[in-house]
Each structure stands twice: as C-alpha cells, then as structure tokens.
Point group: C2
C-alpha cells in the first residue's frame, strides 16, 4: 500500500453541510458547532460563505459568524467566496484566512448552471483570479475541479476527459506564471467509484507529480468511503469532509453530503494514518450537529462509538 | 486488480434485518418484501429464522412466512436455524432449501454469550452437525466465522488469531472426512477495516486456496463499503448483504446493519462485476423495506437513484 503517513482533513460541515439544510440555523448554534469542532484537533474549517444572502439565506449571517469565532492556534477558519467582493468581505475578518482557490468543473453543463460560464470563459477567468489574489496578498492554493467524475448532464467522465480539463487549467496558470499547489478532484454528485478514483488520481499523479491531489467526495450512492479508501491507497493526503456527513437531506432526493469527517478519521486511524483528530471529540461534535439540524445524520462512528478492548 | 468476474449476493434483510427491528412486522408485510426481492434477480434470500419464538418474537411466524413464499426459478430461499430441531422445521417446508452451515466465532466471549459454548465445545460439536446434515440429506456449504475481526470483549483480532480458529475448524472437518466449500468471515460488530479484510482474506486464500471466502460485513463504523471493496480487490465473490441496510436501529446505540445490498450491487456494477441484480428493482424493494419499518434506512442508492447520462 501507498498510504500517506498523515492526512489533512478539511471540515466543510458548517458551510457546505448547513447550506443544504432547508431551515436557517441560528448564528449562535452555528458558532456552537464550530467551537466544538475547533476543539477536536482539526486544522481547517470552512465556517461560512460570502455570497449573496438572497441566493443563500443560510449564510446571510456570514459576518456575524466570523465575528463570533474563537481563534485556536494551528486551526484555520476558511470561508467560501465566488467573486472578488466575497473575497474582500472574507478578508475583512481577522479570524478568516481565505484560501486562494479557483472553481472549475469538468462537466461544462454543470459550470453553465452553477457559474453561468462556459469552460472557455472559466479558463480565461483564471487570469483575473490570479490578479485578485495578488492584489489581496493571498496565494493560489488550489483548484477545485467539480464534477471531476461526471454528473447527470454529462454522464460518468473517464479520466482522460477530466485530465484534459486539468491540463487546460494548469497550462493557463503556467502561462500566467503561477504554479498550482493542489488540484482538488471533487465528486460533486456521486459519480465516482473506487476504480475511477484510482484511475484519475494515478493518471494525475503520473502527469503532474509535483501537484498535490486533494479529494472532495460526496457519499451519494454508497461508494463514498470506498472512494476515500481508494484515494488513500494512491497516497492522497488531503480530504474535504463534513462532520456527521452533514449535507444531504435524508427526506428528499438530493445530493447526499460529504463523507463524514469522523468516519474518515476513524478509517485513517485504523490504517495507521495520523489525522491529528481526537475521535471522541469529533463524535461529540457530530452529535451536536445532529441536535442542531434536528435529524439523524448518516455518519456511523458517532452511533457505534470507538472500538472496545485492546488489540490482540 | 484481482476483481471477480461475478459476485453472488445473498440477501439477509428479511431475517437478520427484521430481527433487529423492535416492532414485530406483520407476516403479510414480510412476504411483500420477500416477493419484491424475489423479482430483482437476487439468487439467495434468508427469509426467516427457526428459533424459539420466546427468544425471537420477530420470527414467531417462521412457518407462515415459509408457507406464503412464491417460488421463483433460480432463487433459493434460506432460513436460519441453531439446532437440529430448527433444521427439521426448515426442511418441513418445500419452499426452503436450508444451507448446511456451522456457526463458530473467533472471539470466545462472543461464542459464550451467543451460543453458550466454549470454542472447544463448538469445535467438538462440528461432528454432530455433520451427522445431522447427513441424516437430513443436506451438504455442508459453509462455516460462518462470527467476529472474525474481533469484538468488544476481545478487541480487534489480528489475522493470525482468526486463522488459528479457522485451522481448528478445518482440521476438525477433515478429521470427520468433510471438505469445506466456503468460510464466511463475518464482521459482526464493526471491527474490520479494509486493511484487516485484505490481510485476513489473503492469508486465508494463501493457506486454503480451494476454500471460497465469503464476507458478511456490517457497516457499524462507516467502513462497511470500503471493506466490501477490499474484499473485491482480493477476488472475494460472495457477500451477504441486507436490502436498504436494514438491520441497525438508527435511534439506539446498536450494531448497525449489514451493508446495503443495492449499494454493494451498484459498486460491483461500477467495477464491471456482474451480480445478476436489477438495480431499479432493488431500489424499489429498499424503498418498500423503509415503508415497512417506518423509518429511513441507511442505504444511499435508493435515495440518489442510478447514474444519469451516458458514459463519455
């Protein structure tokens, strides 16, 4: 096995998870969860989203969330933004260290629906993003490649199609003199399986050995944790995840949430891969997340608890 | 990859899944689910349990269930039994083709609690089981090795400990002139991880290449589907599973159910491994199972549906 020695888990529950929730969560409850998460040893939490409040009412309190954060050494609070104005707002909060990231999608219909852009326009727009990062004194950290394994409009995508989009992005960055530290391959709507994860990750690593691969995996069709395992087998050491699996709505036919952070951390621990995360504290946070949204979340470890007994 | 070409899925929901349900399900509802399952292309269903009704009230209607079954060519209805009397009852129903199986556990405390036996007694008792199978004209088909990866009393078990128990069983069978077609390694309470599955399965295959390995995996701590994938990577072609993941009770701290059959079948299909199962029909059966138990079941595919679009 080519397992990494350690894994960086990035918690997306308070932003992406809550965003999927129909009812707006009171700011105080959001901060309660973020505070619980901040005591788990996790090193990165996406706490909110600086987007238009009429489009995403759940995150209309973004400024208040950021003002209410308790800073913890070694822990980075991130926030989502979709344009320079959002980045400005994020940077106005001393508690937030926004990532320099660029959103692209391997499926063009997805990009059109979500970003109102063609792929050509998105790639052209990379230059403006780099200028904005420069102007704001932040560094490019990653490209988030949504629908890297396909989506409902495009169907399952073979590795070579996604790699072709990656190549256009990386070439454009190179033209602008920028090096990419990480490509996050996102299975946005559950089109990945462990074999397609392995195929895409290995092909990417072979082609661009200096660029880290990150994985952002939703457990839409039950393959989420097997996909994580396939990523670990390829040495992937950066995973986005969501406390308790917060994100999917269990009573509607919607995209299920990210893989549960504490289940991923447990899997890593069982495989001898360190995450820096205290599982007991994470279980407590996952239970709190359940209480806040008022429904059962899909994560498993929180219900079963840790293993008992000593290894024989 | 060493994936098998095809996989035999054995449906355990109507027996093991319902048994975990607190409320007794009406016989008619059980038969409705079994009928729905019987139209999916699945080849093996455990429909009930011939055990003492005072111990397992859920299966007090075992005889009525068996009388109500509609036979389908190529589909085998199985039933659980724990002693010769139970086997007699199972065999009294022409609809049932009971498996010749022997239950053992790798964790002795588990065996004592569940079977009121020491390991020595269980291994000694293999002779009586073989006699009973001979007397009833059925063949030994498999040994079910419960807690093959450990349990709360014993802790996680390394492969060598479980293999030592397997060896005692296989040697005892050989002493009695019996060959074992399959060893089913069961993760009864969620102590397996994909690496321990790989270690145990590979070690077993190396040692006893002529004995098939089966896997019976519960998704107690979120590693269930990754464990299935690890088994498939080792060429395992027999999996017990439960429609919708029926089995765990989501509101109590209990052992979660088997991996969801339709999610396992979807994973296999995505990996190019045939199962003979119609996923749409299985999704419908999983939704019916949810209606019957009146709560959300953990399976994912039933909520998300099949992939859309054509492979690119």
């Amino acid at each position: 096995m080519n397992f990494p020695e350690s894994v960086l888990l990035r918690e997306d529950g308070p932003r992406e998870g809550f965003q999927m929730n129909e009812e707006v969560i009171p700011t105080k409850k959001k901060l309660e969860l973020i505070d619980a998460l901040s005591k788990t040893g996790i090193r990165s939490i996406e706490v909110t989203s600086f987007v238009r409040p009429d489009r995403v009412p759940q995150h209309a309190d973004a400024d208040d969330v950021c003002k209410g954060l308790t800073e913890v050494p070694g822990l980075r609070y991130r926030a989502l933004y979709l344009n320079e104005k959002g980045l400005d707002r994020a940077l106005s909060h001393p508690t937030i260290k926004p990532e320099g990231y660029i959103l692209i999608a391997a499926s063009e219909p997805f990009l059109k629906k979500n970003n109102n852009q063609t792929l050509e326009e998105a790639i052209e727009g990379i230059g403006s993003w780099l200028d904005a990062f420069l102007a704001h004194g932040i560094k490019l950290e990653r490209v988030m490649m949504s629908t890297a394994f396909g989506d409902a409009d495009t169907g399952p995508l073979p590795a070579k199609s996604t790699l072709a989009v990656c190549e256009r992005v990386i070439d454009r960055l190179a033209d602008k003199g920028a090096e990419l530290p990480e490509m996050t391959l996102a299975d946005t709507t559950g089109y990945a399986n462990p074999e397609s994860v392995e195929n895409l990750v290995k092909a990417f690593q072979d082609r661009w050995p200096k660029i880290q691969v990150g994985l952002h995996l939703h457990d839409t069709r039950g393959t989420g944790m097997a996909n994580v395992y396939a990523g670990l087998q390829c040495g992937v050491s950066r995973f986005d995840a969501s406390v308790g699996g917060l994100g999917g709505c269990p009573f509607t036919k919607s995209t299920a949430g990210n893989v549960p952070t504490e289940d991923v951390a447990f899997l890593c621990e069982q495989l001898g891969i360190s995450t820096g995360v205290d599982l007991k504290a994470y279980i407590a946070a996952a239970k709190l997340a359940e209480t806040i949204v008022g429904r059962k979340l899909p994560g498993k470890l929180k219900d079963a608890g840790l293993l008992q007994g000593n290894p024989q």
